[in-house]
């Protein structure tokens, strides 16, 4: 009985999407299917408006995620308005690094909505569990069916069509569960043509084609232990990036892991979970479909990572802790081969990532102490060692003569927060301090063309660690009918890494206007505020709204780029019997604090209205939902502050989908 209580407590925590500490992960080894299913249902990958969403669309519904969009595919997620170098993005704690120097392949592009169960977003240093970070962490949780479900087989199939870009998708997943053996498999296929903007003009080179499949097998080696192997294979082919001067010909990723999990029935130790992983990404760009390119260039990239993640959960009385060891070794390679106009001349070759090895090993601890019935203290820290090795350091030495081939850094992090729950109110205050190492591009990149500001970027191996000082607070009120919550955070980041125009050297890429080198600003400041509210107007009429604002400045009070202006999302959801109707409105106010220095221009306000309706029905053992809807109903022509090169967003998009569960 006692054991069950503890597990139930854990699951309740798990349901809270913003829980800062999921002490014991929903435990797949035990027989707790009823509770477990509820937990999954609460966190399934769909938005208010749309049930068949891409991973990107799902992430977009979170208030601290925004996106840089270079087309219709593989959006780069910004956490707290900070780019991917400043956050750790992991799949079940595994580190993966994209193989594209132009960020065509964020980690989120290598999974599919039907092989994920949840996405854990942790803001700031509280997210240092998976490794050193500044902005926080995004952990993509894969599906993992519990052992011993009453129903051996379960699965879902989703298909749909989106009319704007002729996107056709088929997603299927199937799970088998017995007392000793579990299997999860999924397969997904999406194919889309060019989309049309709000003026009904075709946006060329915005097509994509993605195939994703995954398999997970788990075996219970004893009542309290299990082994599990997982693999994801993802392939994107012929993907257009309208905002970039080139497209993607092919990108493939294989993501594998083998893990061992041990539960403990009594004592302080509760769970110990250790995983070995390997992933490899290959990425080949294609500029041959762009007639404006007078120069043909081959730009392949490869990224290979081996790693270990080992996690233990402890609990004694009011105190619980999570300890995680992270270690990985990544090799990033990117090449440029330029073809001369007279093809009889010799081709020209350089590395944009000159075989850069990154090794990381770190230990992270999160503690939580419920020191009274209404208050809790969370505190923790991490200490990491980051090592870089540039095999062909001669490329880096051109701009940084004599720079060492190897570099080691120590990355400490600390965080603490206090939570108070009084009646229907809750409050929290927190603070954090942490370092991060420069990314491969920031440290060792070589003539990486950035089509946003049209500069070639040169990495600097001697960059200092970026150091973040962070403060955050939240206040909320909740009763049966409504909830309201305000969250703020503030980051003061020392040695903030940006690209600055270099007086040295000249561009290499055809479209480039100059050379920028990564350097450290003395500091930068970022401020984010989010306001969330929900209200159940009637039993079956629900309203939800979010308002976010951010401001970020450099050490001369100039604006930083890609900072979201005042923006809002609001939705109404009405249910009547088996019917549901949703409508939502989202938009940004005008972007006034733009940064011309980083290639930005002002972006006007926009507002997009979406609507959808669904019908749920059962036949034999199947439960099916049919949905039709329209995004951007009024066919507004707009582009957002974070649309690379101001490419217009999609105009009116009618969509339809069918989901069958069994």
């Amino acid at each position: 009985m006692k054991k069950l209580c503890i597990t139930f407590f854990v699951l309740v925590l798990g349901m809270n999407a913003h829980a800062q500490h999921t002490h014991e992960q929903s435990d797949s080894t035990k027989r707790l299917e009823e509770v477990k299913i509820t937990a999954i249902a609460k966190r399934k990958i769909e938005t208010e408006l749309k049930m068949a969403v891409s991973v990107d669309e799902f992430l977009a519904s979170s208030d601290n995620i925004s996106f840089i969009k270079r087309g219709a595919y593989a959006w780069e997620p910004l956490l707290n308005n900070m780019s991917t170098e400043r956050s750790t993005i992991t799949i079940d704690g595994m580190h993966i690094f994209g193989a594209c120097t132009d960020k065509m392949d964020p980690v989120t592009s290598y999974v599919e909505s039907n092989n994920l169960s949840a996405i854990d977003i942790t803001s700031g240093q509280a997210g240092s569990l998976h490794g050193a970070t500044v902005a926080g962490s995004i952990d993509l949780k894969r599906k993992s069916t519990p052992f011993g479900l009453e129903k051996n087989w379960s699965g879902a199939y989703q298909t749909g069509f989106e009319f704007n870009n002729n996107q056709f998708f088929n997603l299927g997943n199937l799970s088998y569960s017995s007392d000793r053996f579990v299997a999860d498999g999924s397969m997904a296929l999406r194919k889309a043509g060019n989309y049309y903007d709000g003026n009904n003009d075709e946006v060329n080179h915005s097509q994509y084609n993605k195939f994703n499949t995954s398999l997970g097998l788990a075996y219970k080696t004893s009542p309290l232990s299990s082994v599990r192997v997982d693999a994801i294979y993802d392939r994107a082919k012929d993907v257009g990036f309208p905002a970039l001067p080139m497209d993607l010909w092919l990108s493939r990723a294989i993501i594998t892991s083998a893990s061992y999990k041990q539960l403990f029935e009594d004592g302080m130790w509760r769970v110990w979970d250790t995983k070995l992983y390997f992933n490899a990404v290959e990425h080949y760009m294609d500029d041959t479909k762009r007639p404006e390119n007078l120069v043909h260039m081959d730009m392949p990239g490869w990224s290979t990572t081996y790693g270990l993640v080992s996690r233990a959960n402890l609990k004694r009385g009011d105190y619980s802790a999570e300890i995680q060891l992270n270690a990985y070794d990544n090799l990033s390679i990117a090449e440029m081969t330029m073809y001369p106009q007279d093809r009889s001349n010799k081709t020209m070759f350089a590395y944009s990532w000159p075989w850069v090895t990154t090794r990381f090993a770190g230990l992270s601890v999160n503690n939580s102490w419920d020191f009274s019935a209404v208050s809790r203290l969370n505190f923790g820290g991490s200490l990491g060692w980051n090592y870089n090795y540039s095999k062909y350091v001669e490329f880096n030495r051109i701009f940084h003569p004599g720079t060492p081939r190897e570099k080691s850094r120590l990355l400490p992090g600390l965080h603490a927060s206090y939570q108070l729950n009084v009646h229907q109110f809750d409050f929290s205050v927190g603070t954090g301090y942490g370092h991060r190492a420069p990314s491969v591009s920031e440290g060792y990149g070589y003539y990486i063309y950035n089509s946003f500001d049209r500069y070639d970027y040169i990495g600097n191996p001697d960059l200092k660690n970026e150091i973040s000082y962070e403060a955050n607070a939240s206040a909320g009120f909740r009763n049966e009918r409504m909830g309201i919550e305000a969250k703020v955070n503030y980051f003061h980041i020392q040695n903030y890494i940006v690209g600055r125009i270099l007086s040295l050297g000249s561009p290499m890429n055809y479209q480039s206007v100059g050379v920028k080198g990564y350097t450290s600003l003395n500091h930068a400041r970022l401020f984010n505020v989010a306001l969330n509210a929900n209200y159940d107007m009637l039993q079956h009429l629900h309203w939800k709204g979010t308002l976010t604002y951010a401001r970020a400045t450099d050490d001369k009070n100039g604006n930083l780029p890609f900072i979201r202006p005042l923006s809002y999302q609001t939705s109404l959801h009405f249910m009547y019997g088996k019917f549901g109707i949703q409508t939502s409105l989202n938009g940004d106010f005008a972007q006034e604090n733009y940064s011309p220095e980083y290639g930005e221009d002002p972006t006007p306000a926009y507002m997009v209205w979406n609507i959808s309706a669904d019908y749920t029905f059962n036949f034999t053992n199947f439960k099916a939902v049919l949905q039709v809807g329209a995004e951007n109903l009024f066919n507004e022509y707009y582009s957002t502050y974070a649309d690379w090169g101001n490419i217009p967003r999609m105009g009116r998009n009618m969509f339809t989908s069918l989901k069958i569960n069994f």
């Binding site: 390997f278 007078l294 081969t337 590395y351 490329f395 051109i398 050297g505 055809y510 480039s512």
Partner: protein, 314 residues
């Protein structure tokens, strides 16, 4: 049971792994091979010519055992034909002469008085051949040396081959001071991406004051010197139209060092065709030759070059 499963798991995992590792779609560029095979490298001194004269063997060694257009370091050895031992020679001189189709005679930058290197038992010098041997002209070496108070003079026809390594190219020009100059690249033979020490020789033809007189050759007609105290300003570019006359940072102008040659630094940002654009300044800092190359990035157009430049390739 537990063990059995783990083994199976391991096997599955190994298969997945090996599939993943073995199946890259496109091969990575073999960078080391890329920068390796392009140039003909001259790395070993071998005999290029042997002359027998009055009981002595004169052997001239050059890199790869041949003479090429451009800078050639030479090593001259004199041995006694009978004993096969090193002869005790002194005052060794070296003069290359080219005879063209009309019968006119020219020379080229060279070291006339070879330097004795007793430790290595040879005499050291150089010759910057300005042309390869052809029907329009042939090269002859005039050599003299003194042994035991007696002076010996020999001459020998030699063949000068085309320069196969563009990194050892040379150029000839007339400066603003109306003097004839020669710039020949000496090193690197095999440049690499990144920083390279660039070495060149700068020579001047000393115009004869009087018409030729006496026996041929009249040395005053064929006098060349290494210029001293000049500066060779360097601006490396990629003239290929697709590269927009791309340049590189952190280069260093060439200045004269103790070996008489001019040393500087050049950075190549990638492999391909490069042009070394020069501006030559005399001791007083006056421009004798060369023009400033505009900094504009000019994609699509063949890059502008200085009027004084040498093209290389790697």
């Amino acid at each position: 049971m537990v063990k059995g499963m783990n083994m199976k798991t391991l096997k599955f995992y190994t298969i997945v792994l090996s599939l993943a590792v073995a199946s890259c779609t496109k091969d990575k560029t073999d960078y080391e091979a890329e920068i390796d095979t392009v140039v003909t490298e001259y790395d070993e001194f071998k005999e290029a010519v042997a002359i027998r004269s009055e009981g002595y063997d004169v052997s001239i060694e050059a890199l790869n055992g041949a003479f090429y257009k451009g800078y050639n370091e030479i090593r001259l050895k004199i041995t006694n034909s009978q004993t096969n031992e090193k002869a005790d020679a002194s005052a060794v001189t070296f003069l290359p002469i080219k005879t063209d189709a009309e019968g006119s005679k020219f020379s080229c930058p060279h070291l006339y008085d070879l330097v004795s290197r007793p430790d290595d038992s040879y005499f050291s010098g150089y010759s910057v051949f300005t042309d390869e041997s052809s029907t329009n002209g042939s090269w002859e070496l005039y050599i003299s040396f003194t042994i035991a108070g007696r002076t010996y003079a020999v001459k020998q026809n030699v063949s000068v081959q085309e320069q196969a390594n563009k990194n050892l190219n040379m150029t000839t020009f007339t400066g603003k001071d109306d003097e004839q100059y020669f710039i020949a690249l000496v090193s690197p033979q095999r440049p690499k991406v990144g920083e390279n020490e660039l070495v060149a020789g700068i020579y001047k033809f000393n115009k004869p004051i009087n018409p030729p007189s006496g026996d041929f050759p009249d040395l005053s007609q064929f006098s060349y010197t290494e210029v001293s105290g000049y500066t060779l300003q360097l601006d490396p570019r990629m003239p290929e139209p697709s590269m927009g006359n791309h340049s590189s940072p952190n280069n260093k102008d060439l200045t004269q060092q103790g070996d008489g040659l001019y040393h500087g630094l050049v950075n190549y940002t990638m492999t391909g065709n490069w042009t070394l654009n020069f501006i030559m300044l005399n001791q007083k800092g006056q421009i004798l030759k060369g023009t400033v190359v505009p900094d504009d990035f000019t994609p699509g157009v063949e890059g502008v070059k200085s009027e004084l430049h040498i093209d290389i390739l790697f």
